[in-house]
Subunit: 465 residues, 2 copies
């Protein structure tokens, strides 16, 4: 089963505001350059995430063994992670498992534990969490490559203390598993010193490209997900994405179309899945696309302030929230519909009120047909309104098609980075906020930043209501 | 307790890209005109939602009586609604109740039932839902003003059939409650014919402005929420929003600043709560702002294609996802931080790894302090990067402050509509998609649209990969 991409509605032949064949042709030099960069960087080990479909075999075995060893001991598997360490696990779980997984009795979960992802440091969260589960019956997965992520590490310290108080240091040891860098950072040091089980994030793989490492694979496996299937799907997409001819390479074409869109004022990228199961894919994509492409400087040091803002939405739900704006507002967005051919369940509307015109036509129709028709109708309306849009379709949501989709977006993001001539793999813009946080806490070494903060002009009360 | 708004960082005195005092002053005529329109329209009954804080007393009593009568009979209260009928109830529940409400034992819910909101027609949803609860132990709240919302009404028909099969027509009657228009539409007709309990949405109140009608009040009351408190808060904000002087009127000033932002190319409105409890406020706001202001024509019939795209995000979580883009990407957004002074719980980080520089400074700090500091640091970084931002703060999240906040956004939206000279209360842009759906289903009366669809050019396979 292969994912497909339909970009007819990105083109001027179908939407008033669309891309012309000339515009596409004009970019052949950029395409060649980007193709070469993708190949060269991969060969130079600068795109280590591209090898994940092929080199995680050992990790998969170790993960599956560990799941078998541990799963009956615990009620819940708890991710302590933020950013890619949280968004990937949530997206995969939502896509492949029951939407009310944690509310099902264990046998309906095939014997697998519940899953919680605690990614924020809202103080209410941990307190309420401890009221919800028996916190001593959980396995806590601390995910941080650097081991210095304040949010994750602070949660870890709170939970470690709680566990050691409640069950003792020895038993606590078995309830914590770390996912981190093999060598550098606090977390690997701590894991070794405390004797925690740990899994490795390959050092050249960045957070938002790490879903196919133990970052994503371990939580998925604890929920009974076929993690080999994810990798097999990713490998299939990797093959498709090696195509030189951009008309045969879906990820490169996706990037190119968005790149052209950006040059034409489309600063917004809307992701609109028509399946509840794919809702959190939008969240995962939002990080990938925003953090990779939102950059101040290009590779030549020129100030460019590029980037497209991802918008998370859900069909049909957001037809009743966002489509008014999409159809009538500014010509500032590219809308990506994300559909499925076959849902996992079928339900039929009875012919109860056949005599009421606005209800009668629904009688005997399945929700499968209704949601699909509404997707087609929305695509039609958006296209008629002249707005660029395209559609990605999974034949069915499975581990393999999901692996394809995730990998597709990763390649598309990297390729868009090449077209934009920026570094898609760094995130210098988050340092300022981190440093300000350290300074506010008086962390040694941040005295200069502290002085800068202290010197900032006070707020004017006139502008506070 | 009063919500406050700090817009210092919208101004050129603090951000390179900000608004000057001159720009504000220049708009005094528009402000006067908008003020007058707000007063005139309210007097003419065209802003019926503004009276809700004062005229729902009867509804509140009836709702509370009904909750007392029914709550012990049911395990769960289930909203069948979409758009405003779903987003409001979810936002209020998330704000005021335990985040894992449905997973708590009943006594920890103070005896109140679980809450489910089923707003999509993904066929997997209802099937999976029926696997999660005992569907005969639920009270289903069908919410549709027109009674012709395909999604909601189709869910209703499926559930009505299921109930009648399982418990018989008589018992089923007690498990369905409708919220709809008093006179027009299918749902009131059905409710009366079938003998269902029903609550009324005042006919002049539109869906996205209906949270303070039984649309929002009934689900909230079934979760034990102080619905009178919501209305009291809204009434307090109504007073503040009657101020002629825009420097004293937070909602009008919010609208004005965003309006100026739009004229300066800020086509994106980011809502970033720093509290898990306020996460779904962003979803509710996204509908309100997008659907009200995203319009093709202004009041004079001129093509304007205005509107600002709302982006939902969450602090601190999305510092690890979106802030890179906000700090370094295009100058195309206004970021609204939504904070709280006091969280409902406190949790402290132990001093476990005092000797590790990146962890040591966290020892002894509360998560309350950490999240607040990160909010301040992000505000600092965003401001330093020259991006417009502002902060709304609730002293604490309570029914009353939440009522203030919801009502604040409603007034701000209406006022922004006046400044833009558009109708903030219609949604003509969703008709095309609805009509296409009807035509695709062969609904009588849509033959012409069907012919139009049939005549649309086929997709070119060349552009499908």
């Amino acid at each position: 089963m292969k994912m497909r991409m339909d970009y007819n509605n990105m083109l001027s032949s179908r939407v008033s505001d669309g891309i012309t064949q000339q515009e596409l042709d004009k970019l052949s030099a950029s395409i060649k350059k980007a193709n070469k960069a993708m190949v060269d960087k991969r060969a130079a080990g600068k795109m280590a995430w591209r090898d994940l479909p092929y080199n995680q075999e050992g990790a998969v075995k170790e993960i599956n063994d560990y799941v078998n060893e541990m799963k009956d001991e615990i009620d819940a598997f708890v991710v302590l992670g933020i950013g890619g360490s949280a968004l990937g696990p949530m997206a995969v779980q939502q896509a492949l498992n029951h939407p009310w997984w944690n509310e099902l009795p264990r046998e309906k979960r095939n014997g697998f534990p519940k899953l919680y992802v605690l990614d924020n440091v809202d103080p209410e969260r941990l307190v309420y969490f401890f009221q919800t589960v028996d916190p001593t019956r959980c396995l806590y997965n601390v995910i941080s490559k650097s081991g210095s992520t304040s949010e994750t590490m602070s949660q870890f310290m709170i939970i470690q203390q709680m566990l050691e108080e409640k069950v003792g240091k020895e038993a606590a040891r078995r309830k914590i598993v770390c996912t981190t860098d093999a060598v550098s950072g606090n977390l690997i040091t701590i894991a070794k010193a405390e004797g925690y089980k740990y899994f490795i994030i390959p050092s050249a793989v960045g957070g938002r490209f790490s879903e196919l490492t133990p970052v994503g694979l371990l939580p998925a496996a604890f929920c009974g997900i076929d993690i080999k299937g994810l990798l097999v799907g990713a490998a299939a997409m990797d093959e498709a994405c090696k195509e030189e001819d951009i008309y045969k390479n879906p990820a490169h074409m996706y990037a190119l179309l968005h790149y052209i869109g950006m040059t034409k004022g489309k600063n917004i990228s809307v992701m609109m899945p028509y399946a509840d199961s794919l809702k959190f894919i939008s969240d995962w994509y939002a990080q990938l696309w925003a953090e990779s492409l939102g950059k101040q400087f290009d590779n030549d040091g020129k100030t460019v302030n590029v980037g497209q803002t991802p918008v998370k939405t859900l069909g049909v739900t957001d037809q009743h929230s966002q489509v008014q704006l999409y159809a009538e507002g500014p010509f500032d967005k590219i809308i990506v519909f994300l559909g499925v051919d076959e849902y996992r369940e079928t339900i039929t509307i009875p012919k109860t009120y056949a005599d009421m015109p606005s209800l009668g036509f629904l009688g005997g129709v399945t929700h499968n047909k209704l949601i699909k028709t509404e997707q087609d109708a929305t695509e039609y309306a958006i296209t008629k309104s002249g707005r660029m849009n395209m559609t990605l379709t999974l034949p069915k949501v499975t581990a393999s098609t999901l692996g394809q989709l995730l990998y597709f977006f990763e390649v598309a993001t990297a390729y868009a980075g090449e077209l934009l001539n920026i570094d898609a793999f760094d995130q210098p813009g988050v340092e300022e906020g981190k440093n300000a946080t350290y300074a506010m806490f008086g962390r040694p070494g941040y005295e200069e930043k502290k002085a800068e903060l202290d010197a900032a002009p006070a707020k004017d009360d006139k502008y506070i209501i």
